[in-house]
Amino acid sequence: MTAINLEKPELKALRNQYGETLAALGAENPNIVVLDADLACSTQTQKFADKFPERFFNQGISEQDLINTAAGLSTAGKIPFCSTFALFAAGKGWDQIRNTVCYSGLNVKICPTHSGLSLGEDGASHQSIEDIALMRVIPGMTVIVPSDAVETDRVIRWAAEYYGPVYVRLVRPNCPVIHDDASYQLDAAMPHRIRIERGGDDITLVATGETVYHALLAAERLHKDHGIQVEVLNCLFIKPFDSETLAKSARKTGKVITVESHQVMGGLAGVVCEELSTHQPTPVRRLGTQDRFGQSGTGDALFKEYGIDWEAIYNEAVCWLKS
């Protein structure tokens, strides 16, 4: 159980945290270098650039060059973090990420900051709702989706220590802080362990990234209104994936709902269904974009439209349990 006030949470943008953590890491580790593709102000890598200009490389609007320049830097012993919008990193840079970074097993961190629908008004051309799927199919790639600023800090620090390719999916807007900064730690032996944010026997809610907050809010209200006991699982790591914790919860509740700001195919729902089919066959209902592009609008309006806000989760759970 989190001791956070879900109704009136503190807010912090993941990208702000990303920039701050990078700047702090830069002072701790001289091998850290940062690259951007003309979005340093948006991605907040500018915070690093201001402190360590000689270790910051703006590659301009050239995302393929961004990835491969980072690859080259890593062969010289540097730890490159590169950022741009998620669609351009994962989409334009996919071949570079697959064939050069991952196939060569290079130590490159790809941390795009404007993933999913919450990017909002820029519309579908800028909303990556496929990047989890694109990244997780590449052999050897680690895929991480933090849910708040606290987790963002911890995983960026973890990525800097870990040797190998890592994709950290960040989002643009201010997000509720749902973890306690003072006590939050990654499991050292098993950083990809699923976090059980809240225990319950009636139904399992599996969320990742921004939707963890919505899952928690829905769980709280389902309990208050209907006495439904919801187990909320936070999948910080999409890959490697902790199928054991998921299977255990599914065995207990027999009902799983996934929620993500991403296409249901290939994303969190994809992973959950793949893992359950092997370890604990369980019916799954999947909330996420359903083979649709995004569109312009505020992040909140889009979460509502595409059925991934707390209300949609709440309705889905009530519907299922009443049926």
Partner: protein, 296 residues
């Protein structure tokens, strides 16, 4: 020997600096090895490999500083085989250099081999970056040079590219980056054989005058005959002088003949990525052997 800033670095004991006649003999020998390597699995790229082997022997056995006994030596010069399909030529060079045992020669493109169809850094010592998807090597080279520069290491970074490969947008992103970041230690060598898979580069998608294109992007440019050993060596020496005197990277446009050395393969797009049959192999091997024997 070339005068270069790299002389400040200690050359590994016993590293050969071959003379031009020695290099010519070596290239003639490696041509035969390339042919054998591709004939064995009946798969590989003879035209592309024979096109660049003269460049490779000069780069590796006259110019670059490296040490197979210390493959991760940080101060070594770096080489990226951006035209990864030229793997047989690259592997033959690395076998001669001592990074790959000759015993693996017959394993090219076979199951469980280190000699993958395209170079894979996980299997090949001294190879930092896997290649095969064209257009990516130059960006990697620029990143390497930036990383080395941060550590005040003055190693050279040589990137060998195909001319058709230069139709990839990523190449020109890297050309811009290299000039912007002033990585004068990067040298791009374009194997300008005027052929790609579908034929003449100028018919598929014209590359036109490549030297002025690089020059317009603020690179130093040298154009040479890529089979003339003296010209190749002069160009590499000139790249070093440029690196000392300017803050620009250097492009060497090396005019070559695809399939060079095998009469029926020369300038034939069809031999880009096709293995010879038995009769063709025998004719080709006889030609290459005669050429080898004719050299003193």
């Amino acid at each position: 020997m070339t005068v270069s800033t790299n002389q400040a670095r200690v050359l590994p004991a016993g590293l050969p600096r071959l003379t031009i006649p020695q290099l010519q003999k070596l290239a003639a020998k490696l041509r035969i090895d390339i042919l054998d390597m591709i004939y064995e699995p009946q798969s590989g790229h003879p035209g592309s490999s024979l096109s660049c082997i003269d460049l490779l022997v000069n780069i590796w056995f006259h110019y670059m500083v490296w040490d197979p006994a210390n493959a991760d030596w940080k101060e070594r010069d770096r080489f990226i085989m951006s035209k990864g399909h030229g793997a047989p030529a690259y592997y033959a060079t690395l076998m001669e250099a001592g990074y790959i045992p000759w015993s693996e020669k017959n394993t090219l493109r076979k199951i469980h081999s280190n000699l993958q169809g395209h170079p894979a850094s996980r299997y090949i010592q001294g190879c930092d970056i896997s290649t095969g998807s064209l257009g990516q090597g130059l960006s990697c080279g620029v990143g390497m040079a930036l990383g080395l520069r941060l550590d005040h290491i003055d190693s050279r970074v040589i990137v060998l590219m195909g001319d058709g490969e230069c139709q990839e947008g990523n190449v020109w992103e890297a050309v811009l980056s290299a000039a912007h970041h002033k990585v004068s230690r990067v040298t791009a060598i374009v194997d300008r054989n005027h052929l790609q898979i579908d034929g003449d580069t100028e018919k598929v998608k014209a590359l036109g005058q490549m030297a002025p294109k690089f020059a317009a992007f603020d690179w130093n440019v040298i154009e040479i005959d890529g089979h003339d050993f003296a010209q190749i060596q002069d160009a590499l020496a000139q790249a070093d002088r440029f690196a000392e005197e300017t803050d620009r990277p250097t492009a060497i446009i090396a005019n070559t003949v695809k399939g060079k050395g095998v009469s029926f393969m020369e300038n034939q797009a069809g031999w880009h990525g096709k293995a010879p049959n038995k009769e063709q192999y025998e004719v080709a091997r006889a030609e290459l052997t005669a050429a080898y024997d004719a050299l003193s």
